[in-house]
Symmetry: D2
Subunit: 363 residues, 4 copies
């Protein structure tokens, strides 16, 4: 199987944010090519979007159901290797289920589903079909997050005692959803977004990052959820005290009303031997602190990094990589598994990306 | 009354940390001079310390009781204008009470007392005697903290919604108290320190900073206190969710086991109009964030600052001031009140330093 | 002309650095597709590289001459819209000339040629053929560099007085070229690299950045070039004092022996009204300083930025963009001009990328 | 000799900047006390200043000559141990000479004199009298500058190849001297300031810092001096290329017209093994960079620092020290030498402060 992978997309039409991110992330390495899509539930909008992406009009659909039927019937040399789901949360489950059942690999934007029942149903289906299911918790694609994980695994921090994860944003500090802002509109609507607002949207990124880096599992938690903006139906701020299974403690706070904050996701992990700190807005650095030695600043692209961090890098140190490269890394990892699946091989042993299990845990 | 102020010190002998800080802070502007002291409960050690400070040996005492009797009998031209108490927490109340009753103004290291009962008793005594009582919550002496307070007061942040205060340290990550480390020894001993370890020692600084800058009062809280180091009797880590009286929410976390952290006290305040951030380890800057304008970095020593920030500055911008200057600012403010008290005048209207009320609130 | 652009590549085979960068930058937006190439002067290596990129083997060539002949004969629906030249410096001129003469648009890695004579000849040829010629001075593709340029143009800095540009690297601090390191080998070889080492390689980026942002032209200069590494034939360090035509002064320093520096390109511009500072390793921020107001931190992705900065952005603020996105921006701009050229239209008025003129100035 | 040192001051009356700095720096440790002074050439102003400092009016003088006569006649138990000279540059030489000849130790603000002739004459006089002469190049008092020096001395950087020193300020970007601004007035006046403006005032700090940390001596230089502000008679900007005696190269740039810069003195030293960077505005950190290891951030107040850095520290790490503490460190070192001199002992072997030799080199 020596060719670019072919993929289709559900959602992600004109004007959206995350659809464009997925297209760049999936195609930046020229390892895959978008060839089909149902970009909008409005057929006109879907067609216009397909034209934006230079697609063959016969492979642009008015609904994912229509797309499923038509694409399932494509001959082998045109068949999609995977589909990407970038619709609002309440429209993750059904297309994912449908395409998995039709034998397609699936890449799904987070959160994996609307609620825990759906997430568990998907998990069962993935297990049954044996297809690749990728959940794009993109921050785990950062080279220095991979490095952090390896430092923890190698015991360089000792036993983890405390974790502080934060994800403050400011974009929903006013009632943006009242202005027909597309993303604000569905992210604050319990019918499309699910039972949680801020914590479900970005708190899960922080939680996923904790788990990915430290391997710790939450045992108990105490959360204070607040809706600051009048008329909003989902929380836009959350403060959580965490207790992990092995005695570690922590704090997780996320917010969408922190004016002037952009995507200030940070993770600090304190162990008995050393501590680490990573900031999403300065992703090329990882700070390591010790009791009796100078602090260290580990920087992406250097030869002293773990192979796992090196593998998640495209350009040498000092040429900053960012959000799209990290997102693209999730795709690069996924492609290794998808190529294996399409070829009937086992996936490489060291392949590592967020899966349906992360989706279930996040719920 | 045109002369330097004269003061005596209780505690703060050889080998201590905070006593030296108080001496530098009180004397750096050459507005006051140390002339007497009971520096240790060990008379020999007290005398040796007195000699270190070039004091007249007849004014160096073996106990604060002895000092009180002798100094109360000094003639007017030698009488102390104030005394400074820098003993461990359990020895704050009795000397404070004694010297207040003898008519001396008092500067006391925080926390004001061992427990709330003592704190309230002192408050009553201060009210009764009319003496100046200063509690050295030193971080409020920073020029940029003063600026932050003024920005909040002037409504530049709008209504405060969320506050995040942190004070991680790492110095007690191991059982330092088992090594005869003087400060570690009493700060982890409930008999000398009181019912709280980490939160009482540094959490109070974070709480005081919140109150000083925002004026918010805590209504409810949920705290998770942990003792990580085996054999320790007081908590060395605390995570707290805060609810303030007017609907604002917050997080306060403090720790003494965060390896590699020094005194990373930070305060972030998020309002409906703008947000501010201050870091104790970069005290000359205050960051202000907006929804629709570039971030601002306000820097100490500039002409655009509030008069209150200007008044708490010694050198022009770009010549960094630090911990000792901020501590010295508390003394400079206190001196304005003490000079007034000694002269029988009212204190200046704009004088501002932490008082016995802050001490009671902190408890 | 509603389709992806087709391009071929000269150089950039396996193991190189800059070829991969160009491929990602050109294809990340799925606006163009690599379909042909002469990736190495070694035909085997060229074929292997073509296979890496999933190319049709009939369009992978053993030399650029062979490629030129074959590709010039392609029918219209397969004809290349542009070619990308990423060979060592001494192999820029000949393929550029050849393909321009055959009517292809050209994107060329910097420096444009081996010496000034070649550069001027190319300039004449570009003028004569009317083809698009793009020189990838990639740092000018950064959104915040575009913002800086607009601030200067709008007079926000007043009259420019002083400019400081730096580009320290450390990768050639030892004699890396003696280890068969491919890039080190030709970048220190006067036969392949030209008369200048460090200044030609990275000093030109700093010079180009000054010119792009400020519009200033160098009038006089005094340079001190040094070769620190024994046995090396080109300078690996340069310090330059600059005098600009309108009275502004400056310093430019570049180095390849600054151990531990990666790509620390920075630009500071001081005017009579305000100053700006940009750091390539923190490219999402632009710092603006004033005499009597707080500093400002302008951040990529915000609504307050100039349209030109907004146009050079892919994702919202707080999701950092980096080197590849900036490089991709040069391509995005180039595509606007190339699409116009291919369609026989004039290029958009606001299109802005480095051209052959920048190449001549850089020499 | 167990007592506080006594000192007098020449210059430094009301409204000045550097006089206040010297008083705080000299007295912050309560090791010395100001007891006399000729604070202004205007006797009224001098008296008012003396009163500000609570001095005995009989020891406040209208001129340094008057002061010299009277103080030379004081009995031993009242005799000054040293005098501090903080007048404009043209008034350094004569009082320094006079007091040295009368047998007083002298602390002098930099530059040591108006020109090289004066500087050399002072050097001869210091040698002849054997008195302590301290030149307050205060930045060398920073703990992390001391650490940097020790790292270089210990060979941790290998052979030094390149040095970059910068000192941009913005306070003279407009013609401040036309507004009767006291400091601007004499610092731009060749009669009071000497032949150099910006370079003499702050370029010398940068030069001194290079020498102190690296031990390198300048062999050749090429300087471009500019006066940007119309009507000013001394340069307000300077760019200098440096060649050092052992083959190292460097750049030094200083400016007073860089709007928005405060005191952004920085030093970067690049060696064959490692590099260091220090920023005066973040003085508690020293960054060390390597070819193949994570960067290190050395922080003041930690146990891993050299004894020389530890000795130049007052408070533990994380409690930032600043400009005044560094300045005070120069005084603390000086006091060790002055106490020795007054007691007829040799100075301690490890005592280290800038001397008359630094003053001559700076010229």
């Amino acid at each position: 199987m020596h060719r670019k992978l072919r993929f289709g997309m559900i959602g992600g039409g004109r004007g959206g944010f995350i659809g464009a991110v997925h297209r760049i992330a999936a195609q930046m390495d020229a390892q895959a090519e978008l060839v089909a899509g149902a970009f909008s539930s409005d057929p006109k909008r879907s067609r216009a979007s397909g034209r934006d992406f230079y697609l063959d009009p016969t492979r642009v659909y008015g609904s994912y159901g229509e797309m499923a039927r038509a694409e399932a019937a494509q001959p082998r040399e045109r068949r999609l290797d995977f589909i990407v789901i970038v619709t609002p949360n309440h429209e993750h489950f059904r297309p994912a289920k449908l395409f998995l059942e039709l034998g397609f690999n699936v890449v799904c934007d987070k959160p994996v589903a609307f609620d825990l029942t759906e997430a568990k149903a998907l998990r069962a289906l993935v297990a049954k079909t044996g297809k690749v299911f990728v959940l794009t918790h993109n921050y785990t694609g950062n080279a220095m997050v991979r490095q952090a994980r390896q430092l923890v695994r190698a015991g360089k921090l000792g036993v983890i005692r405390k974790v502080v994860a934060e994800y403050p944003q400011g974009w929903l500090a006013t009632r943006l959803e009242a202005t027909r802002h597309k993303q604000a509109s569905w992210k604050t609507d319990p019918k499309r977004c699910g039972a949680s607002g801020c914590l479900g949207d970005i708190g899960t990124h922080a939680e996923n990052l904790i788990r990915f880096v430290t391997g710790l599992e939450i045992d108990e938690l105490c959360a204070d959820l607040t809706t600051f903006v009048q008329g909003r139906r989902l929380e836009d701020d959350g403060n959580v005290i965490l207790r992990f299974k092995d005695g570690a403690r922590g704090v997780l706070q996320a917010s969408q009303i922190c004016i002037g904050e952009e995507n200030a996701l940070t993770l600090r992990v304190y162990g008995t031997k050393a501590s680490i700190e990573w900031q999403q807005e300065q992703p090329n650095e990882l700070i390591m602190k010790f009791a009796d030695r100078p602090r260290q600043v580990w920087r992406r692209g250097n030869g002293y990094l773990h192979a796992e961090a090196v593998r998640h890098t495209r350009v040498p140190g000092g040429h900053p990589e960012g959000y799209l490269e990290a997102f693209g890394n999730i795709y690069r990892e996924a492609f290794r598994a998808i190529r294996a699946e399409v070829s009937g091989r086992r996936p490489p042993r060291d392949v590592c990306f967020p899966t349906i299990s992360d989706g279930v845990s996040g719920m």
